[in-house]
Amino acid sequence: MFSKIMRVAGIDIKIGFRETTILYILIFPLILAFILKALTASNDIISLNAVIDPSVPSQMEEYLEQYGKVERVDSREDMDERVTKTDDYLGVFWNGESYTIVQQGNEEDLGEVLEFVINSMETRNLDIPAEVRISDVGWTLSPMKQYGGSLLVIFMSVMGGMVIVLNLIEEKTSNTLAAMNVSPVTRKEYVMGKSFIGFVVPIFHVIATLLILDYGDIDILKVIVVTLSIAVISVLIGFLIGVTNDDMMGGIASMKAVFMPVLASVFGAIFLSAKWQFLLYWSPFYWAFKSMDAIILKQATWGGIIVNTGIILGLTGIVFLLLNKRIREGLN
């Protein structure tokens, strides 16, 4: 059984790499991830990163580490070189009487903030020491990076269903589905083989996206669980659209319509106040977004993920019961 499932899956993968539309679907989300990465690159400046030379005492180094990353280099030349790199690092050296801050010039107010921080260290023993506090408004990530990443992950989970749509329509238009129906491959093996790509593609996309966007040490296992749970409904929708459409354009148009509840769920989850969130409880994409958001913010617990995944699978089960007959008929 497993070998036949893999053969059906294998043929889809082989054809996928030779079909420009499917290749486009595989590559497009990664391009989106790179665009999002470019748009959110400036988020790194929220930390106060410094590069110091040997003249700076270790006490100051430890103090600065409370506010950001600190790199110690061997010479002034190395410090200057580090400062000129594209990311935002400010140089600091001690000339025996005072500290000097070296910057590229485009760091905006970071130099002044660092000056305050250094002064607070130097004046801490005075009767009325200058105290520098850095507070935030609760954002550990920029909204674009936080929500953009989650939206992209949910969006990509639907992409696997889109590949299934295209493969099924191709099978129908070329009538190879009939040839498959007179082979010893069971309906279950065929459906599982066709579904395989609907799970593999989102996993590949999501992991690649998270690496591109560099969220740090987020729990990949939780990400995979959420991705697989939402991929189930995407696969189901993919099969329904695949069996009910006889041409590629119709299939793609129907799949685009699926993006509406995806976007509505995500934007609703972001913008609706807590008391109105219940309006989105019907949508599996809403629960997937909530899970992904918590994972990206490193606030997700296994308990929460399991509950949300259970809700997603429950809703998917209801959809399956409604669509099962139609899909089975369409595969005949």
């Binding site: 070998s3 036949k4 053969r7 043929i11 082989k14 054809i15 030779r18 079909e19 070329s174 009538n175 190879t176 009939a178 040839a179 498959m180 129906n181 007179v182 082979s183 010893p184 491959v185 069971t186 005949n332």
Partner: protein, 284 residues
């Protein structure tokens, strides 16, 4: 090998039947031709016998498998060639066959040998999407042989093919027949049926009108006349004479003995003429 008893099928699931009260048997090793015009119910019958359409009323078994709920193992023992070619266009001819053969649980034939058989070995590694209609049809046809089926269903195997390729296909069918395979041939081409089939069944409007061997049908329905053309006074004369009537037989004998014969042939009825006579309808 194939037994059908009181088979009915309605696409609309009411009393409008695409096939009705169909009963026939196909013996092991026999080539059975299922003949009729478009829309007569040929493909519906083949669809039921290959499991593509569900059984509604009646009984049918193929190679010992009840078609009410055919198990997937049945497809290890049957082969189905479709009227319209259905191949993966993004795959090469060899990849198409290699993929399909891996779906079977029984020994399969070598892909390249099959491609050679159909004269496609020179394009084995070309994508099927670049093939002509005839080449795709041949690929579909040989794919149906890949599991060396005991029962082979062929739907219009030569339709739309040029005479040379059609002849190639017919030769393959004849070879399989000699090997003892049971073949269920669906066609509206009476010449193909005449050439290949041991028995034929005429179906029209979903009803099986008649089953017999082409020879018996010709004997039963053909006109027993001879056309003879001979030279007389610098010109050619033509006469049509009965080979049953005494008077005509003497006349034929006289012509043969005294005249220079240019052409002579029996007026054997074609299957198409017999079909029209039996059903009152043409084959278009």
């Amino acid at each position: 090998m194939i037994n059908v008893e009181k088979l009915y099928y309605s696409y609309t699931k009411d009393n409008i039947f695409a096939v009705k009260d169909l009963s026939f048997q196909v013996k092991e090793g026999e080539v059975f031709g299922f003949l009729g015009p478009s829309g007569a119910g040929k493909s519906t019958t083949q669809g039921i016998l290959t499991g593509l359409l569900p059984m509604q009323q009646g009984k049918a078994d193929v190679a010992g498998f009840d078609m009410k709920k055919p198990p997937r193992e049945m497809f290890n023992r049957i082969g189905v060639s479709f009227e319209q070619s259905n191949v993966y266009e993004k795959l090469t001819a060899r990849e198409n066959l290699d993929f399909y053969k891996k779906l079977f649980d029984v020994p399969t034939l070598d892909s390249l040998e099959l491609l050679k058989l159909a004269g496609l070995d020179h394009v084995a590694d070309k994508k099927a999407g670049t093939f002509s209609k005839g080449m795709k049809h041949r690929l579909t046809f040989i794919r149906s042989m890949i599991n060396n089926p005991e029962v082979w269903f062929l739907d219009e195997p030569t339709t739309g093919l040029d005479p040379a390729i059609a002849s190639q296909i017919k030769d393959i069918i004849k070879d399989r027949h000699k090997e003892g395979r049971t073949i269920f041939l669906t066609t509206h081409n009476m010449f193909i049926a005449d050439e290949l089939c041991d028995r034929v069944g005429f179906i029209i409007d979903g009803v099986l009108k008649l089953i017999d061997s082409p020879r018996n049908l010709k004997l039963q329905y053909g006109e027993k006349f001879v056309d003879v053309e001979y030279r007389l006074d610098e010109s050619t004369k033509k006469e049509t004479l009965s080979i049953v009537k005494e008077e005509d037989r003497h006349r034929l004998n006289e012509i043969i003995n005294t005249r220079e014969i240019e052409l002579m042939h029996t007026k054997e009825a074609t299957l198409e003429e017999i079909f029209i006579k039996v059903t009152g309808r043409g084959l278009v």
